[in-house]
């Protein structure tokens, strides 16, 4: 490969893959906010939730 092509190959890898690594590390360090506004609690039910019917 020519020098200039190698430089740009490296540049693409550093900037784009570097962006991926950096954003992943940022996410691992700060996966979620510590405090949220009040409310917004979900009752987490996995996947298909039960159908509720009027009685």
């Amino acid at each position: 490969m020519t020098g200039i092509a190698i430089v740009f190959l490296m540049l693409a890898i550093v900037l784009v893959w570097g962006g991926f690594v950096a954003s992943t590390l940022f996410l691992i360090r700060r996966p979620d906010l510590v405090s949220f506004p009040p409310g917004g609690e979900d009752d987490h039910r996995e996947d298909e939730a039960p159908v509720e019917r009027d009685t």
Binding site: A12, V16, F20, L27, P50, R53, D54, T55
Partner: protein, 535 residues
């Protein structure tokens, strides 16, 4: 579970991803599609090589990521498929835009399946190099049996069988729901895709002529940076690659819990998508370098460097000449199938979610009813001798006009007309660890509609004045503009139909403006919870 609900007040708790990683894998699976493999390498090569990196990164940061955040904010704040979320954001007109997005996804789903069926066939063909010495003739004459432009009901069994298979698998996954279906499929296929493609790239790097291929891709042509078309090519590559602005990311974000980090996972998804594009560029051009070396010509003399031509004509020809070709072919077409499949799931989830919410269907009911209709239409249109032409034309119009128009209309309505920029920015920042500034509003409300509007208008002019692919004008009107007409009419009709449960029985969390409503109790009224409805 198959029972319809009674009344209009009961609501089920929303389906959810099992967590942050599940969501990220599904979102990457959606973004990484056929375009990453067959479009990016050729586009980068033709638009400045190494120098393309500059407009590409600028487009990613100024338009791709900001619009991705806009989709996330809308879907997550208003917790619904595109029609439901946009209805809650801005009323009936915006619901119409949501259905426009659903209809575009519906149309794309019809033909995207066919391409995956081709890739699946070629995966099988790889093992005995069935395309022989002339892959171009094999594709059009032997495999697809392409006829004259028109509408035919002459089925091609070699396409019909894999197409039906792809539909069956897809509908089973969609019917299993978000966590047990879509997420699980992504958790399996995305890592498998990455491993298969990495093996392929490493193999390609050791081929004779690989260095020449990489030279061709990465040597910068600085003059390209002065050409506005190169910048437009970068914006359009980023735009189409990220699956933004036609409901997918709105839908996917709506399945996150309320207290969920949005922007930081968004950055991971966006950079992962681009990382895969760079990887594909390296793999594809190393392989093309080998092909040129074998033929004793330069890379710039090769033809078929993007799209269907690259995948189904050029690559088979290369595989035939390569030691260990069948394995290389299986890796390539296997990767293409998996990348396409995970994207297809996201496209069809947009349709499924839209119908589930408006008509009170379960995931399974939506998969059988709406998916069944899609499957039948898809088979009728694309497994016949006229399938390839119809697919090519429908794709041109659905993507370049449908999706781009959706993006322009959405950004203009949400940011300019309804002025929801501050509320959505507040929402992103209230739940996310990566904060967005006012610049975000300027980018999605200012730069994005201008660049995308230019792309839209110039494409409409080109398609109207010059036509497309030398096809007869009546055919372009029927299949091309006909596609847009179907989308618009379908969107209007679906907007007018009655909701099974009132979508406006909903309060967005967190309240905006924040000071006006110091909430003490969770705004759970919307999700019904265990209290059910009126009895």
């Amino acid at each position: 579970m198959s029972e319809a609900k009674v009344g209009d007040v009961t609501e089920r708790p929303r389906e959810q991803w099992t967590g942050q990683v599940g969501f990220i894998l599904a979102a990457i699976g959606s973004a990484v599609g056929l375009g990453n493999i067959w479009r990016f390498p050729g586009v980068a090569y033709e638009n400045g090589g190494g120098a393309f990196l500059i407009p590409y990164l600028v487009a990613l940061i100024t338009a791709g990521i900001p619009i991705l955040f806009l989709d996330y904010a809308i879907g997550h704040r208003f917790r619904g498929s595109a029609p439901a979320a946009l209805r809650r954001l801005g009323g009936k007109w915006l619901e119409g835009l949501g259905w426009f997005q659903v209809m575009v996804a519906f149309v794309i789903g019809l033909y995207y399946t066919a391409v995956i069926a081709w890739a699946l066939s070629y995966f099988v063909f790889s093992f005995d190099l069935r395309w022989g010495d002339d892959p171009a003739t094999f594709l059009t004459a032997d495999y697809l049996r392409v006829g004259e432009p028109g509408l035919s009901l002459e089925f091609v069994p070699s396409v019909l069988i894999p197409l039906v298979l792809v539909w069956v698998v897809t509908l089973v996954v969609l019917g299993a729901g978000v966590a047990k279906g879509v997420q699980r499929a992504n958790v399996i296929f995305l890592p498998l895709l990455v491993v298969a493609f990495l093996v392929l790239v490493v193999r390609a790097l050791f081929l004779d002529g690989a260095a020449d291929g990489l030279n061709a891709l990465f040597t910068p042509d600085w003059q390209a940076l002065g050409d506005p078309n190169v910048w437009i090519a970068a914006y359009s590559q980023i735009f189409f690659s990220l699956s933004i602005a036609f409901g997918i990311m709105i839908t996917y974000a709506s399945y996150r819990k309320r207290r969920a980090n949005l922007t930081t996972p968004g950055l991971v998804v966006a950079f992962a998508n681009s990382s895969f594009e760079i990887l594909a560029g390296i793999g594809v051009f190393a392989t093309l370098g080998f092909f040129a070396f074998q033929q004793g010509i330069a890379i710039d003399e090769l033809e078929g460097l993007t799209g269907v031509g690259l995948s189904f004509i050029t690559f088979p020809a290369i595989v035939s000449q390569m030691p260990g070709g069948p394995i290389f072919g299986a890796l390539f077409f296997g990767s293409l199938t998996m990348a396409g499949f995970t994207s297809l799931l996201s496209v069809l989830q947009v349709v499924s979610a839209g119908f589930q919410e408006k008509f009170g269907l379960t995931a399974r009911q939506a998969a059988i009813r709406v998916g069944g209709v899609s499957a039948i239409l898809s088979v009728l249109l694309f497994s016949t001798t006229t399938g390839l032409l119809a697919l090519d034309v429908a794709d041109q119009w659905a993507n370049n006009i449908g999706i781009v128009a959706s993006a322009v209309i959405m950004t203009v309505l949400v940011l300019w007309v309804l002025r929801k920029g501050s509320e959505l920015r507040y929402h992103l920042n209230a739940v996310s660890t990566f904060k967005v500034g006012r610049l975000w509003i300027a980018l999605v409300g200012g730069l994005a509609p201008v660049v995308l509007g230019y792309m839209l208008i110039s494409r409409i002019v080109t398609l109207t004045v010059e036509g497309y692919a030398d096809l007869p004008a009546w055919y372009l009107v029927l299949i091309g503009w006909g596609t847009i007409l179907v989308v618009v009419v379908g969107a209007a009709l679906l907007t007018l139909l009655r909701w099974r449960a009132d979508p406006m029985r909903f309060s967005a969390w967190p309240p905006y403006p924040p000071s006006a409503a110091p909430s003490s109790s969770p705004p759970r009224s919307t999700t019904g919870g265990s209290t059910g409805g009126a009895s």
